[in-house]
């Protein structure tokens, strides 16, 4: 077909329509209007705000103030000149929170998927059940755990019953306990996504591999270590990258459970951006925080996109 059009076009005098079709593609007249809404929405709600955030980060713009003034890199420099150095502290907390949650989700998800992949009675019921924490709104999972950790809740009930501590433990008001408690909540609500991906990956592994290994005398653990885990490598990478992006950027549970406190002990970078820009009304300084996070996300997204597109 390409050949026939190539032989015919020179003989026909090309009008404007034909020339446009040649440069913009044969179906552009229909394709552009069809694609336009998606493209415009993405540009207006993602590309424009992205560029706007760059400009914003160089201004001392406040909520309620019509115009900001250009102040160069002051917003960026301030974070490092600040003796409290909240930005560095928040970066460290973001790493701890994300790392802890990802590690936990990986271990729990792998164990959960391994169990659910066995021939067990009512398997589909358990699968559906273990999916639930992922389906409920993040606000709901946050409040469930706030209640479980409350002084009236079962965890403090057990502590009091067995006299494990002298007083109730105020998990989300304690600088040492708040971050581990938040990580636990993130693991609880985020694991099902890992479990489902691992399960799908496990079901794609050929049974012959296991049979061959068995004949060779491999133990159950060896089969898991040398067949299951290597076969899941791609799934593990993609899931880990996706989950890293979502976990580090999500602030719903932190907002509901600690609000970033006590004394910034659970303030991750997105939380710091929220506290600065919305609660503190300093839009420019908040945008600077988002901008400083951006390179890390662009690298993550780049690797993830490459992996996901390679699959196609």
């Amino acid at each position: 077909m390409a050949q026939s059009s190539a032989t015919h076009t020179p003989t026909i005098r090309r009008g404007l329509g034909a020339r446009l079709r040649a440069t913009l593609g044969p179906d552009w007249l229909l394709a552009w209007p069809m694609a336009a809404p998606v493209v415009l929405i993405v540009l207006a709600l993602l590309a424009y705000p992205f560029v706007d955030a760059i400009f914003l980060s160089f201004q001392d713009r406040f909520i309620g103030k019509a115009e900001g003034t250009w102040i160069g890199f002051a917003n960026y420099v301030d974070f490092f000149a600040n003796p409290e150095n909240l930005f560095l502290k928040a970066s460290l907390i973001t790493l701890l929170y994300t790392g802890g949650a990802i590690g936990g989700k990986f271990v729990v998800g792998l164990a959960m998927a391994s169990v659910l992949n066995q021939e067990i009675p009512l398997r589909n019921v358990w699968r559906a059940l273990m999916f639930l924490p992922w389906a409920v709104p993040a606000v709901v999972s946050a409040y469930v755990w706030r209640f479980l950790f409350d002084t009236t809740g079962p965890i403090n009930g057990l502590i009091a019953e067995f006299r494990l501590a002298n007083d109730y433990l105020y998990f989300f008001n304690d600088a040492k306990l708040a971050l581990p408690a938040l990580i636990l909540v993130a693991i609880w609500s985020g694991t099902p996504f890992w479990t489902m991906n691992f399960l799908a990956g496990m079901q794609a592994i050929s049974q012959e591999l296991y049979e061959a290994a068995e004949i060779d005398g491999a133990s159950t653990f060896q089969r898991f270590r040398f067949i299951t885990v290597p076969s899941l490598q791609h799934v593990i990478m993609v899931t880990a990258l996706l989950s890293t992006i979502w976990t580090s950027a999500n602030l719903t549970q932190i907002f509901v459970l600690t609000g970033g406190g006590p004394s910034y002990a659970t303030t991750t970078l997105p939380m710091l951006a929220y506290l600065t820009a919305i609660a503190g009304r300093q839009m420019g300084a908040g945008a600077a925080i988002s901008m400083m996070m951006m390179p890390a996300y662009i690298i993550l997204v780049y690797f993830l996109t490459r992996r996901m597109l390679r699959q196609e």
Binding site: G25, L30, A31, V108, F131, V139, L148, Q207, A277, V301
Partner: protein, 301 residues
């Protein structure tokens, strides 16, 4: 299909046979642990919602001595004032807002996503490759990085504290994903079907509505479910862009219940259960579809 099922059953039973007794015990112990880990928080939440305040705050019972529906009654029909309006009027306004936003965003995402996906997978035009790559990139960049400039966009359009702000902004996270999912599904539909219809005189749009979309029903169901639940569950944008009692969605509304009352847990847990029901019901009904779609969309691209 039948042969794979048979083979799977055969191999599964053989793998069970060779699993040592220790591993079988370990498997069941882990299963019990994970079931409790998943379910106990939900059960505790439900039990609290049917306990009296006395049992929650004073007696610390595990199972309620009497089943008390008062918290739900207050939420749904209550007269107690809260934030200047009847508690029930307020809670039902939140539910209504969430429903309106989630349904409108879902409809929009399916229609516009189908158009975009059809153009990318079936039509040849300049910009096609960039659009396909741009979509996945924008889907993956977390929106919480952009809420500050988005707040400016919303403020410029004078939409702060309106539901329209949410209707405007939510497609930024539903639309790239919907289009992406539909694209990978449209590709799996044989083009020959469409070509036959085109030869018979059907228009391109006719093909999309009469052939491609009906054949993509499973993918559209997944996309609808994701858009609905993601919009329903969304918190950050709703928190930043709305601020009066009547424009809140239910997720942000829940956070407002805290601190108004000294004894809030019963009502709070009741409200949380009601807020969680729509996504939970939808996921339970469409679980198979979702997992296939989830894995297809996320892992296999």
């Amino acid at each position: 299909m039948a042969t794979t099922a048979v083979r799977m059953r055969a191999s599964a039973s053989s793998s069970r046979r060779t699993l040592g007794r220790g591993w079988v015990i370990a498997t069941y112990a882990t299963l019990v642990f994970f079931v409790l880990w998943t379910v106990v928080p939900f059960i505790w939440m439900f039990l609290a919602s049917i306990k009296t305040n006395k049992e929650i705050y004073q007696d610390f019972t595990i199972l309620p001595k009497v089943v008390y529906w008062g918290h739900y009654e207050t939420l749904l029909f209550g007269e107690t004032a809260g934030g200047g309006m009847r508690a029930s009027a307020r809670f039902s306004a939140w539910l209504r807002n969430s429903t309106i936003v989630a349904l409108a965003v879902t409809t929009l995402s399916i229609v516009l996503g189908s158009f975009g996906a059809y153009a990318v997978t079936r039509l040849r035009f300049a910009g096609r490759g960039i659009m396909a790559r741009g979509l996945i990139f924008t889907y993956l960049v977390p929106g919480s990085l952009l809420f500050i400039p988005l707040f400016q966009v919303v403020a410029t359009l004078d939409l702060v504290d309106t539901l329209s702000a949410l209707l405007l902004v939510y497609p930024s996270f539903t639309l790239p994903f919907c289009t992406w999912m539909l694209m990978s599904y449209f590709r799996s539909i044989p083009v020959e079907l469409e070509e036959a219809a085109l030869i018979d005189g059907c228009t391109r749009l006719g093909v999309l509505f009469r052939i491609t979309m009906p054949l993509s029903a499973p993918a559209i169901a997944v996309v609808a479910l994701f858009s609905f639940t993601q919009s329903w569950n969304e918190f950050l944008y709703a928190l930043v862009f709305t601020n009066s009692v009547t424009t809140r969605t239910v997720t942000v509304g829940l956070t407002q219940m805290l601190g108004e009352d000294v004894f809030y847990w019963g009502q709070m847990m009741g409200g949380a259960i009601i807020a969680a029901l729509p996504p939970v019901i939808m996921y339970s009904l469409a679980q198979r579809l979702v997992i296939r779609g989830l894995v297809g969309g996320a892992v296999k691209g």
